[in-house]
């Protein structure tokens, strides 16, 4: 016996179903009944009930990409605020390798970085790293703060929402899974993007949001509504549920790209090897070049949900 429907709004302690259903995230089982432990929307799949919270704090998870702010520079690591009950640490080793440098000359207190969660231990301390393209320090721009549970909604199905905003406002946008969004562009556009992101956050649990945002953007920028399109009802329906698999896909794509890039580099190094006898020098130079390149650019990856093409 089930007492709720998919996408129903529930509150903590509400009885969702009897025994034949499994209790998923955001729920607990008591006396053979599945109850909600959060205020959020019900998601039913394969006899498993989950509650997707409307509000929650970010808890670091291995493999996530996050935006963090340097809080403190210590002897061999940086303390990073990642908008979570748990602070992250960025060990110097992750940035320099074996090299020895002064930490505060590279990243100082107040710098905002794009990072990857390398590992989370039992007491939830997050170890961060910069491995992966696009990781590094942001220059300029503004930070917008949203609830981490609304991040998938902001990105939209296969990045539909975020790409539309990027196209329209011509802003560079990076979304961290901890609910921080970095926006850089014209000052007016930054402000508009910020407003739009907050609107998405406030109305994440309503349907038909992509079109609503589209209309708002077109009105604000062109002063007229967008050309009519064939409405895709089905897509809208599915998009309603706040979920994460899109991010997963994105991560795989990213890794694939990384691999390809590395292969290319290896080939190039091989070629240069033939030209020049001094291999060590060449590799050194490559490393240096690479570091510069990887600070923020993602190449031409238009499908990228997190990073806009920086080489405009």
């Amino acid at each position: 016996m089930i007492y709720v429907e998919n996408k129903d709004l529930v509150i903590p302690g509400q009885v969702l179903s009897d025994d034949e259903y499994y209790s998923g995230r955001g729920t607990f089982k008591e006396n053979g009944k599945v109850c909600s432990s959060l205020m959020g929307l019900v998601s039913l799949r394969n006899k498993k009930i989950r509650v997707i919270p409307l509000k929650s704090k970010y808890v670091p998870k291995k493999g996530d990409v996050v935006i963090g702010k340097i809080n403190d520079v210590r002897f061999s690591m940086w303390d990073v605020d990642i908008n979570s009950p748990y602070s992250g640490i960025l060990p110097a080793f992750e940035v320099f390798g074996r090299e020895k440098k002064e930490l505060n000359k590279v990243y100082d207190v107040g710098d905002v970085l794009f990072l990857r969660v390398v590992d989370v231990d039992e007491i939830k301390k997050a170890k961060l790293g910069l491995k992966g393209r696009g990781m590094g320090k942001f220059k300029g721009g503004i930070i917008v703060d949203i609830a981490p549970t609304k991040v998938p909604r902001l990105i939209g199905k296969k990045g539909s929402m975020i790409n539309m905003i990027k196209d329209k406002t011509k802003c560079k946008i990076v979304v961290g899974q901890n609910g921080l969004v970095w926006v850089k562009g014209d000052e007016d556009m930054e402000q508009l993007t910020k407003d739009v992101i907050h609107l998405i956050e406030a109305e994440a649990h309503t349907s038909g949001l992509t079109n609503k945002i589209k209309n708002k953007l077109y009105l604000a920028i062109d002063g007229e509504l967008p050309p009519e399109e064939v409405p895709e009802e089905n897509e809208e329906e599915e998009e309603f549920v706040l979920e994460k698999p899109k991010l997963q896909n994105f991560k795989e794509e990213l890794e694939q790209e990384e691999r390809e890039a590395q292969e290319k580099e290896a080939e190039e190094i091989k070629k240069e090897k033939e030209d020049k006898p001094n291999i060590a020098e060449v590799i050194e130079e490559f490393k240096r070049k690479n570091k510069k390149d990887t600070t923020l650019s993602y190449g031409d990856n238009s499908n990228n949900s997190f990073i806009l093409n920086n080489k405009q």
Binding site: L9, S37, L38, M39
Partner: protein
């Protein structure tokens, strides 16, 4: 009969004062609630779960909560000396104890939740109102919990057991029994008793207060649903 008895403010023996609850009223807090019961006006802010700056309070396997109950100097007829006193320390403690059984903080080890209960105007029964408002604010903050805790008092005035004492009844009456409970399971998380009651009167007071809690609980749910339904 006694059910016909009219109280000092015209209520029946089992009638609550008018209640207004609003969730999510503060911009900067993670969760907040505003509550009015009769002449009480209470504002609650919840911050967290967040990293604690007080190391000694942290638990390695679970999150902890801290409650501060505070009455504004202008909240009562005679000016109250600002700052914590014996009474507010006691209420802070019993509020934390009343809320803790409902919270599921195992997923937030080493973290801390701060709850600030500010009484802007007081008119009897602020501890129960504080608990009621605090749990709405906790839900608004997205803290996982088993049930929404609700508080309500019963007492004895003019030899009658009555629900939800006002300030006058609290002062003139013979007893005051504030309770807090989790309405789904009926578990009682706070039970205090001040004054003289016979065994039967005590049992009756608890039944009455539990019934009052259930009524307030419906209003809590309504307030939470209202916040998101209109958008």
């Amino acid at each position: 009969m006694m059910s016909e008895m009219i109280r000092q403010d015209g209520r029946k023996f089992d009638e609550l004062r008018p209640i207004k609850i609003e969730a999510g009223v503060l911009e900067r807090a993670d969760g907040s609630a505003y509550l009015e019961v009769g002449g009480n006006k209470i504002l609650v802010a919840v911050y967290g779960p967040r990293e604690s700056y007080i190391r000694r309070l942290l638990e390695p396997n679970t999150g902890v909560i801290r409650v501060r109950y505070n009455m504004a100097p202008f909240s009562v007829d005679d000016r109250k000396r600002p700052g914590p006193d014996r009474r507010s320390s006691e209420i802070s403690k019993i509020t934390a104890d009343a809320l803790r059984p409902a919270l599921m903080l195992e997923n937030y080890p080493r973290s801390m939740i701060d709850i600030y209960i500010e009484v802007i105007e007081a008119e009897g029964g602020t501890r129960c109102a504080g608990i009621t408002a605090a749990s709405v604010a906790l839900v608004d903050a997205g803290v996982p919990m088993k049930d929404i805790v609700v508080g309500c008092a019963a007492g004895k005035v003019n030899d009658e057991v009555v629900l939800d004492l006002s300030e006058y009844e609290d002062k003139e009456g013979q007893a005051d029994v504030p309770i807090a409970m989790m309405p789904r399971t009926g578990e009682i998380t706070l039970l205090q008793s001040d004054g003289n009651l016979t065994e039967e009167e005590f049992a009756k007071a608890i039944d009455l207060a539990m019934e009052g809690c259930r009524q307030v609980s419906e209003l809590q749910k309504e307030a939470l649903m209202k916040k998101y339904a209109t958008e």
